[in-house]
């Protein structure tokens, strides 16, 4: 029997080759960004002794750890694509995991934001001056301005909900893909 009978046609082989090339470019890009991020955080982070560690520092450290895992998962995902596993269950599971990691990262950044913003106390200059002069009452002038920014879904809270939205969308799209894969498998079994 001729061995070439079982091999995919030339057109399919060239497609697989193209997928491999794009996957390798993707892996190289992920590695470049990972190295850049690592170098950036090593150069500009203020490393202090353990006794000086704060909650904010801990949260940022956790965020950097999540970021590293996130890039590593991207690298693995492109590796799976390169092996031709495009619509397989493990690939879709990895996409879902990437979305979940994005949400975890967003939660850590949000927690860091709250840890960085000190709570306002009641003894503001306005309040103390009113106490000193009981006959006077404060008049507050509210100036309102509009903030414009791309991808800025903060709804006036100071938090960017865009990250949470993107993570949720990745998880849901991966879930839809998983359902689609199951349908296709069932259809193939029926045929």
């Amino acid at each position: 029997m001729n061995a070439s009978e079982n091999s995919p046609p030339a057109d399919s082989q060239s497609r697989l080759q193209r997928i491999k090339v794009v996957s390798r470019i993707g892996q190289a890009l992920v590695l470049a960004v990972l190295v850049f991020n690592l170098g950036f955080s090593l150069m500009f982070s203020h490393w202090s002794s353990a006794s000086q560690w704060t909650l904010r520092g801990g949260l940022m450290l956790a965020f950097n750890a999540v970021l590293l895992v996130w890039f590593w998962q991207w690298f693995q995902l492109f590796g799976q694509y390169g092996r031709g596993q495009i619509f397989d269950a493990p690939t879709i599971r990895r996409l879902k995991f990437l979305g979940a990691l994005w949400i975890v990262g967003w939660l850590l950044v949000t927690a860091e934001h709250f840890a960085a913003t000190p709570a306002t106390t009641a003894s503001t200059p306005l309040a103390t001056s009113t106490l000193a002069n009981p006959g006077t009452h404060p008049v507050s002038v509210v100036k309102h301005s509009v903030h414009f920014g791309f991808f800025s879904f903060d709804f006036g809270t100071g938090l960017d909900f865009g990250g949470l939205f993107a993570g949720a969308v990745i998880v849901i799209v991966a879930w839809i893909m998983d359902e689609g894969r199951k349908i296709k498998e069932e259809q193939e079994l029926t045929v």
């Binding site: 993707g26 890009l29 492109f78 495009i86 301005s145 509009v146 709804f155 909900f161 839809i176 689609g180």
Partner: protein, 173 residues
């Protein structure tokens, strides 16, 4: 005899996909339309035009102070905003129809990737126009959107090839 029809797993999965698409559409509407409604509400509550605006971190006392380049960026941003919304809506419509791994989907992923990339680029240029300084790695915001967009474009390109491969295999069988 009237017995309740038992749904096949495929029908159950399709129904679930339809439901989740509808939920995503609601979420999308909330995220894209709510900010516009909130700005409108802020105008109505203040019963006056705002006394200033902050664009890409720079405060301007009046809108006439905003540089022309930045105004162009804002107009482009608005176009980008609507186009992204339309693309996401089209994608969800395809999901609702049960089309998940089709070429039409992949084309929309590709467009979405380009839009994410363009959004990050636009944000970077707007920041440069507002501050007058150009930084190659401006902030985590635009940088991550540019790279994220590139990743989405790459995945879409891989999926397109995967779709073609699948079609060829189906034809061979």
């Amino acid at each position: 005899m009237n017995t309740p029809k038992k749904q096949t797993p495929t029908a159950v999965s399709l129904e679930r996909i339809r439901k989740i698409s509808r939920t995503l559409k609601l979420l999308l509407g909330f995220f894209f339309i709510a900010p516009m409604l909130m700005v409108g509400l802020a105008f109505c509550q203040a019963k006056a035009w705002p006394q200033g605006c902050t664009i890409s971190g720079v405060h301007y006392a009046t809108f006439s102070e905003v540089p022309a380049a930045l105004r162009v960026m804002l107009a482009l941003g608005l176009v980008w905003y609507v186009w992204t919304l339309v693309t996401c809506w089209q994608l969800l419509n395809l999901y609702g129809r049960g089309e998940i791994f089709s070429r039409a989907n992949v084309r929309l992923y590709q467009r979405l990737g380009h839009l994410i990339f363009a959004g990050g680029l636009l944000q970077m240029v707007a920041q440069a126009a507002a501050t007058g300084q150009f930084r190659l790695w401006p902030d985590t915001g635009s940088g991550s959107w540019i790279i994220g967009g590139l990743f989405v474009v790459m995945i879409a390109a891989i999926m397109e090839e995967g779709c073609k491969l699948r079609e060829e295999q189906e034809l061979t069988v």
